[in-house]
Structure formats: structure tokens, C-alpha cells
């Protein structure tokens, strides 16, 4: 039995995993990072549009600060987010971006003086201030009051991930690529690492650690068409679920991005619309202002995606052999802008569609894009039920996105959650209670279990074809657990997925029997796990009889705060059961800084919770009181909802802005 010991095992080499690893390493702990692929090829590399941080450098970002970022994020989440965690996030995001700058990310910068921008299809001249020259600039993104999304052209994730991975090299962090965690080792509600399969040799080994962090990204690939990389298969969530102890939160909260190209589902960034692009229908008509006169094409993602489907249903789509689609028009931005700030988009259009987006419109359709749900953690990133297990990044439900994530908030979250989790993990590992106290028989039996599963898959006869099961699952998710959902279809989806799950116990790896690198074997065991993830999403969606954020029920169109202001929590304690165990975690309005209100899209259909009004009154009083006492915005915020003591001490400081200089600042070198 091969056992490797380390202090901290990080499963995942994307932005979240690498930032966790560099953090704990800086605190003097040993760490091993596992990744399916070279870390620089993690899906984080595909993030195009940008990272939100309220720097307020650019003219259109002036006046921005943590408070506005907070408000945008909570509204975006349709009040599903954990408000204290969002506060921690918005306060750390500017620090995160500045640290990344220090590590080498070549963020696009403010250039003083006039420049042209397209706003609401009109050319406008924006004048940047002289004192902002050379600072990090930002672009507009959906659902934000200010231009807050910082970027490097449209290769933001790439630049961030490269800087981060290079930092990991500098720190000599031990990264093992092409290694897949296939099970978590745990005993007495305490996690001690993972069983890991080498994807090149097939060898199984045990990585034993004081703390284990899952940073494996999202689960978009349970859908047949997704903007996600092909490795975003939800394996992190699945192995957590298979412990029977760790819980998943809000798995039904799945985001559909308005503009993926048809048919292959590759993303064109929200930056296209942020920079002034618009959606058009079969008649070339710009339809979004009719639906959302205020935010138009830049309403929140869930809203734009729904409006697009509504418009398609009215017969306004462009028909094609791949089904109906709409157009994304960025021709109005001009070639120069496209070639500088949207060059990945341009390359994608050229390579996959054979079109020049500076001259032609891009065929698009809303497509699965982001997993708001994931491993449920508390604010430290630790599982609420399995000690020693942490999760961060898209894999987690930490929960800053609630039922709809704002564009640009995800790469921001990956880094921030990695920074914060690293501190809490290091704190934990500094304590005696973190010592590894696991029976070696336990490790052995976890290892044996995985060996047996693989042998069964390879030796089974007359079994099921995993590719077939997987395709059926993907299609069910597409057809029945999509943008608009309803009880009848969801019920079918759940039943069909249950049947597939049962059949998946009898998978046989056909025609490819190698125990070493074997794509068919990998597909077989992942399909079994993906079916469980698909079930948590479909089942959660069936049970949630309201519409909130990206979860939209045609049979329950209201957001129902009275009954549903709560997180769906799932676990899978009985491996033989065909559904997860469900419970709910109530959100407490009385402690919210921003009580539930109207998001500002369409008609207000909210069923109010009585506490919302009470809390609003309380806040009103508190605010007028604060004004009388002349409190600054930080004091006021602390009065409404204190959160600062939750942050690791080093991240509690205020963020400097041009209009908010820090008194203690040493003079800046010129």
C-alpha cells in the first residue's frame, strides 16, 4: 500500500487550489496539489472577461467601493447569498487583485485623457483622470452599478492562472498532475486525505493529510452543451457526497450564460456586451430594451438568458440546423477595439464559426455556464459536517453567489476564498487537534474499495455502456433541468436519473481493458459519480417550489421569501439509496445588512417574508442614528452587520482608493 503524507492536500490546481496552496506554504506547512491536468490548463484559464474588485480607478468606476460591490452581489444572488461572507469577499477582492499585480498579472491600465466607448449603442467620450493614469482599469459587466470588472484583454483567467502557477513554482510547491482523487479518506467525521488514481499508470495510492481542500471547480458537464471545459465533471462534489457526511448546498442553482456560440457552446464573454455589444433577433432588432428598459443587454445573467428564451419562444429566433438562435452584435465596437480587447472572442469566431465578428454577427444561445451550488462550507471554507475537509472556488457553496453569480465575481472568489481558506487551514494545522489520527486499516480499506470498484468495471460482463448512460443523463439535464423548469418535467428528470443511477451499478468498460491510462475506464467511474451530482441538481430543483435567481419555475414564478429563503442541503449517507437526504438551512433576515427586496427586473413577484419589513425599519432607524452621530461608512456598516472579526487578521485592513487615501501610507515611489 503506497501512502504519501503531507500537512495539507489540495485537490485541484486551478486558481482556487493554487491560491490555497501558496497560502498554506507561506505559513510554513507542507502541501501537495493534485490536478487532472497541468495546473495552467485548469478551467480557470478560460475565464475571459475579468475579475471584479472595487478599485474605482477608471472614470466609470468612480465612487465604487465595497458597499456597492456588496449590494450588487446580494441583489445578483437574489438574496440567496450569505451576507457576512459576501462582506468578507468584497473587502478582500481589492487586496487579491493587488497581490496578483505584484505577482505579475499585466492588468489593462487606465490611460489618462479622452477615449471613446460605446454605451447603449451610442459613441460617448469618457475622460480619464490624470491621477488614475497607469492604475488598473475596469469594464462594465452585467448586474453591476459601476464599471468594476478588471481585465487583461479577454484573457483574464489565463493571465491570473499563469501568474499564480508561476508563484507556485517559485515557492517549490509539490504539484502532481494527471492525478485524480477518487475518494476521501475519513473516520469519525474527520477527513484525512484522499485515495488517488494516477491517470497515466493507473496506480492507486493514499494521500494522507491533516487537512484536505477540494478546489475542483464546477459540474457543468452534466449537461451535453456547456461552456465549461470537458474536465468540469463535478468529481470534487461527488467524492464529498460519497463520504455520506459532507453536505452539498444549492445544487439546483445553475447558471446559464446568455452568449455561447451555436452549436458548440463555446463562450463569448459578457465583456462583449459590457463593452457595448447588443443582442439582436431574426429581424436584426435589438430586443432587450423592450424587456428590461433599465439594464437592457446588461441585466443580470439569469435575467438576460430568460428573456432570450422568451424571445425565442415568440418565434423571433434565427432558425438553423442546430435549432434556433439569436445574434450577438459586436460590429459596432469597431475592429480596433475587438482586436485589442476581445481577441479571444475574435479567434473563437474565426476558428469555430469561420466568421469575422468585426463584420458579422455571432450566433448565440444561453448555455450552461456556472455552478453556484457545491460543497457547503462555513465562512472558513470548512465543511459544516466533516472536519478537516475544506472547499473553495467554484467547487464550494461558501456562499457568495446564492442563486445567481455576477460575471467577474467568480475568478475573484477563487482567489479570495483561497486566500482566506489558506489562513484558516493553516490555523487548524498549527493546532494539536489537527494531528492525523487515523487507523491504517481504514486507509487500507478505502484503497481496497476503490481497487474493487475498478476491477468490477473492467471484469463485468454483459453490463451497461457508460457512454450511453452518460449521454442520456446529459440530455435529461438539457431537456428537463434547464433555464425554465416545471414540476412535471423535473419529476420525470428525477425518475429517469434514478433509473440511470441504478443501471450505472452494472457498467462494464467495453473494448478497453487497460488498468493504466484508459479513457473508457475513467468515463465509467466518473459517469457513476456524475449521475449522483445530476440527481442532486434535479431533485433540488424539483423540491424548490419558487423562482429565485437562475432557478426559474414556470409553475412557481414568484420568489417566495416566506417559505424558501433557505439553502438546500444534501447528503448521501446510504450508498444504496437512489436519492440524497435533503434538509434546509434557513437564512436569517433579522441579521441581514440588506434585507430581501426587489431586484429591479420585470414585475416584482416576490412573496415577502414579514421579517423583511421589520428589518428594513430597524435599518432605517439605525442609519438615521448613525448619521446623527456622524459615523463614516465603515462604522455604519459595522452597526448594521459586524463581520470583520470573521476575517483573518491580516485581511482586515481598509483598501486604499484615489479618493480614500490611507493615512498610514508611506510615500509612494514614483
Amino acid at each position: 500500500m503506497k501512502i504519501i503524507y503531507t500537512d495539507i492536500l489540495v485537490i485541484g490546481g486551478g486558481l482556487a487550489g493554487l491560491r490555497t496552496a501558496t497560502g498554506v506554504k507561506s505559513r510554513g506547512h507542507d502541501v501537495i496539489v493534485l490536478s487532472l491536468v497541468p495546473p495552467k490548463r485548469s478551467h480557470s484559464a478560460a475565464a475571459q472577461g475579468g475579475m471584479q474588485a472595487s478599485l474605482a480607478n477608471s472614470f466609470m468606476g468612480q465612487g465604487d467601493n465595497e458597499d456597492i460591490h456588496f449590494e450588487d452581489t446580494i441583489k445578483g444572488s437574489d438574496w440567496g447569498a450569505d451576507q457576512k461572507v459576501v462582506r468578507m469577499f468584497v473587502n478582500t477582492a481589492p487586496k487579491a487583485i493587488r497581490e496578483l499585480t505584484h505577482w505579475g498579472v499585466p492588468w489593462s491600465r487606465v490611460k489618462q485623457g479622452d477615449h471613446q466607448a460605446i454605451i447603449n449603442t451610442k459613441k460617448v467620450t469618457i475622460t480619464e483622470q490624470d491621477n488614475a493614469h497607469g492604475l488598473i482599469t475596469a469594464r462594465d459587466f452585467g448586474g453591476t452599478k459601476k464599471w468594476r470588472t478588471c481585465y487583461t484583454s479577454d484573457g483574464t483567467g489565463h493571465s491570473m492562472l499563469y501568474a499564480m502557477d508561476n508563484k507556485a513554482h517559485e515557492q517549490k510547491i509539490d504539484v502532481r498532475e494527471r492525478m485524480e482523487a477518487v475518494a476521501l479518506i475519513h473516520e469519525n467525521k474527520r477527513c484525512y486525505g484522499a485515495i488517488v488514481r494516477n491517470l497515466m499508470t493507473g496506480e492507486l495510492s493514499a494521500f494522507v493529510a491533516k487537512a484536505t481542500t477540494i478546489a475542483t471547480g464546477g459540474y457543468g458537464r452534466i449537461y451535453s452543451v456547456s461552456t465549461n471545459a470537458v474536465i468540469c465533471e463535478g468529481m470534487g462534489q461527488a467524492i464529498a457526497l460519497e463520504t455520506g457526511i459532507a453536505t452539498l448546498g444549492n445544487m439546483e442553482a445553475i447558471q446559464f450564460h446568455p452568449t455561447a456560440i451555436v452549436p458548440v457552446g463555446i463562450l463569448t464573454t459578457e465583456g462583449c456586451r459590457g463593452d457595448g455589444g447588443v443582442l439582436r433577433d431574426v429581424d436584426g432588432y435589438r430586443f432587450m430594451p423592450d424587456y428590461e428598459p433599465q439594464k437592457k443587454d446588461l441585466a443580470s445573467r439569469d435575467v438576460v438568458s430568460r428573456r432570450m428564451i422568451e424571445h425565442l419562444r415568440k418565434g423571433k429566433g434565427v432558425s438553423s440546423r442546430y435549432g434556433d438562435h439569436l445574434w450577438l452584435d459586436i460590429t459596432l465596437l469597431g475592429r480596433k477595439h475587438i482586436e485589442k480587447n476581445l481577441r479571444e472572442v475574435k479567434e473563437i469566431c474565426e476558428s469555430f464559426l469561420g466568421i469575422d465578428p468585426a463584420k458579422e454577427w455571432i450566433p448565440v444561445r444561453p448555455t450552461q455556464h456556472y455552478s453556484m451550488g457545491g460543497i457547503r462550507t462555513n465562512y472558513t471554507g470548512e465543511s459544516q459536517t466533516l472536519k478537516g475537509l475544506y472547499a473553495c472556488g467554484e467547487a464550494a457553496c461558501w456562499d457568495i453567489h446564492g442563486f445567481n453569480r455576477l460575471g467577474g465575481n467568480s475568478v475573484s472568489e477563487t482567489v479570495v476564498s483561497g486566500m482566506l481558506a489558506a489562513e484558516y487551514i493553516a490555523d487548524f494545522c498549527d493546532k494539536a487537534e489537527s494531528s492525523v489520527d487515523v487507523n491504517s486499516n481504514t486507509i487500507g480499506s478505502f484503497l481496497q474499495q476503490e481497487k474493487d470498484k475498478i476491477e468490477f468495471l473492467l471484469n463485468n460482463e454483459n453490463g451497461e455502456d457508460a457512454y450511453e448512460l452518460r449521454q442520456s443523463m446529459e440530455q435529461i439535464m438539457m431537456d428537463k433541468v434547464g433555464i425554465f423548469r416545471n414540476g412535471t418535467e423535473l419529476e420525470h428528470a428525477v425518475n429517469e436519473l434514478k433509473a440511470l443511477l441504478l443501471r450505472s451499478n452494472n457498467i462494464e468498460v467495453k473494448r478497453s481493458k487497460s488498468r493504466a491510462a484508459n479513457p473508457a475506464l475513467v468515463n465509467a467511474y466518473r459517469t457513476q459519480r456524475m449521475l449522483k451530482i445530476a440527481l442532486t441538481a434535479a431533485y433540488g430543483a424539483l423540491l424548490r417550489t419558487e423562482s429565485r435567481g437562475a432557478h426559474s419555475r414556470e409553475d412557481y414564478p414568484e420568489r417566495n421569501d416566506e417559505e424558501w429563503l433557505k439553502r438546500t442541503i444534501m447528503s448521501w449517507p446510504d450508498p444504496d439509496s437512489d436519492v440524497p437526504v435533503v434538509s434546509y438551512e434557513q437564512l436569517d433576515i433579522k441579521s441581514m445588512e440588506l434585507p430581501p427586496g426587489f431586484r429591479g427586473y420585470g414585475k416584482d413577484m416576490t412573496i415577502q417574508h414579514p421579517d423583511s419589513e421589520i428589518r428594513r425599519e430597524e435599518i432605517k432607524k439605525c442609519l438615521s442614528n448613525a448619521r446623527e452621530q456622524g459615523m463614516d461608512r465603515f462604522k455604519v456598516q459595522a452597526e448594521l452587520m459586524a463581520y470583520e472579526d470573521l476575517l483573518p487578521e491580516k485581511y482586515r485592513g481598509k483598501n486604499e482608493r484615489l479618493v480614500e487615501p490611507l493615512a498610514t501610507r508611506p510615500s509612494r515611489k514614483s
Binding site: 491536468v37 497541468p38 495552467k40 490548463r41 478551467h43 484559464a45 478560460a46 487579491a96 493587488r98 497581490e99 499585480t101 505584484h102 505577482w103 505579475g104 499585466p106 489593462s108 491600465r109 487606465v110 492604475l135 488598473i136 482599469t137 487583461t152 484583454s153 484573457g155 489565463h158 493571465s159 508561476n166 508563484k167 513554482h169 517559485e170 504539484v175 498532475e177 494527471r178 497515466m200 499508470t201 493507473g202 471545459a229 470537458v230 474536465i231 452549436p263 458548440v264 463555446i266 463562450l267 479567434e347 473563437i348 476558428s351 469555430f352 468498460v509 473494448r511 487497460s514 491510462a517 484508459n518 479513457p519 473508457a520 485592513g653 483598501n655 486604499e656 490611507l662 501610507r665 515611489k669
Partner: protein, 252 residues
């Protein structure tokens, strides 16, 4: 109306699994029906699913962004995911990238090669002893300079330039265009405090910038169209000057 009939594609793949005892490299040919908009990503998955479940290849983003799927396509290194079959003749030959360790069939271990290179070139920002404070405004940078750095930062470590490089065939330790591009990137970046002499020590020899035979193989095959040759030429001039100074004993 014109009725389009889809082509039958003949895709020949160099197969070899070093993990299977006694396995020998061989070409295997698969026939599949071409579909509109088909890329090699779609074609290879089709083959895996319907013809040979053991076929090994790597895709991650399948959007030309992550660099996982470089392979030799009809003799030329390129990204398979964004290669449309309609741009190729009906007979297509695929082989794994040379130079890198073979995992099996079309899958190669570029990751360890690139990490080795990064460590050798210390491809990260070298700061001075600093008291960096992330609460403060970031250091300003000229917008044009940031753009220029980004231009070189766009390398996706796919390995195409390494596969297309004449020098590497002869000098195993040659850092390749990917390595020289990295040095050019850091040399441009004021945040990296290394001196030209430091860079010289890394690439001022035949395994570095003086090894390049200017065969242009790299720039021709770079899927991101990086200005590799002009950057290598620039670095060569720069390093020559430093080398001369060094030899003259000035050392400055």
C-alpha cells in the same frame, strides 16, 4: 437546392501505449462521416466512442485557450480542438507531439517539461526585498507597456513551437521559443528586478538564445501568433551586447 453529401473522413492515428508490454507503434485508420462544423475534437471523441474506446488524447477547454490538445496534424503541429475538418483533405494523419514524453497515442506529458523549463528559467517575478502592502494603491504601469507584456504573456505552453523547432532535434537542452519568449516577457516587465546579466546567465549560451538557428519553425506554428522570431532576434542582440561587456571584463 444543392444537396450536400458529407465526406467520409479517413483518419490515421499513430497508436502506441508504452504501458502495455510488447506494444509497438502502428498507424490505425478510422473512417467516420464528416459533420458540418466538425473539429478534430468532435472527430476524435466520435472515434473513441464508436470505434476504439482505448484511444488516448487530451482536451480540456476545447476552445483553443488552454493548449492541451496540440498534436501533429498532417505533418504540422497545431491545436486539434479548433482545427475544422473541412479545412483538411479527406485523409488526415495524426501523431503525438515529438520531444515530450509519450503517455499514449496522442497524449503527451507537456506538463513536466514546461515545469522543468519554468524552474530552470525561474519564470516568475523576482522582487526586491519588499514590504508589499496589498491595502495600498497598486504601482502604476504605462497602459501600452501592460499591453505589450500581455502580448507575450499569451503563450499557452501548448508545445507546438517545441515540436516545430529544428534546434531541439539536435540540442535536447534547448529552451525553445517558449522559453525565450518567457525571458522576453520578464525582461520587459519592470516588476521583475532581475538585471540583464541575470537573464544572460540563464539564456546566454547555445542552449539558450544562441542555439536558435532562425529556422522560423516556431513562429509558423504558434497557434497564438506570438511574435517569436522578432523577440528572439531582439533578445539575441541584447544578450550579445551583454556577453561582449562581460568578456571585456567590465561586468556592468
Amino acid at each position: 437546392m444543392k444537396i450536400e453529401t458529407n465526406r467520409r473522413l479517413k483518419i490515421s492515428i499513430l497508436r502506441f501505449d508504452p504501458h502495455v508490454k510488447g506494444d509497438k507503434p502502428r498507424m490505425e485508420t478510422y473512417e467516420i462521416e464528416e459533420a458540418p462544423g466538425m473539429t478534430l475534437f468532435i472527430a476524435l471523441n466520435d472515434i473513441r466512442q464508436h470505434h476504439d474506446a482505448s484511444l488516448k488524447f487530451d482536451f480540456v477547454c476545447r476552445a483553443g485557450i488552454c493548449g492541451s490538445c496540440a498534436m501533429i496534424i498532417n505533418g504540422k503541429p497545431d491545436l486539434a480542438c479548433r482545427t475544422l475538418t473541412k479545412k483538411l483533405p479527406g485523409e488526415i494523419t495524426l501523431a503525438p507531439l515529438p520531444v515530450f514524453e509519450l503517455i499514449g497515442d496522442l497524449s503527451v506529458f507537456t506538463g513536466n517539461w514546461m515545469r522543468g523549463l519554468n524552474e530552470r528559467l525561474e519564470a516568475w517575478i523576482h522582487e526586491e526585498e519588499s514590504e508589499f502592502n496589498f491595502n495600498l494603491l497598486e504601482e502604476p504601469m504605462e497602459p501600452e507597456l501592460a499591453d505589450e507584456i500581455y502580448e507575450l504573456d499569451r503563450c499557452i505552453e501548448c508545445g507546438c513551437c517545441v515540436a516545430g523547432c529544428g534546434t531541439i532535434q539536435m540540442r535536447e537542452e534547448f529552451v525553445g521559443a517558449v522559453g525565450l519568449n518567457k525571458i522576453a516577457r520578464y525582461q520587459l516587465d519592470p516588476r521583475d528586478k532581475r538585471s540583464d546579466k541575470d537573464y544572460y546567465d540563464l539564456i546566454g549560451d547555445e542552449d539558450g538564445v544562441f542555439g536558435c538557428m532562425t529556422l522560423l519553425g516556431c513562429e509558423d506554428v504558434c497557434p497564438k501568433n506570438l511574435p517569436l522570431q522578432s523577440k528572439i532576434a531582439y533578445l539575441r542582440r541584447k544578450m550579445l551586447t551583454i556577453g561582449m561587456k562581460d568578456k571585456s571584463g567590465c561586468g556592468c
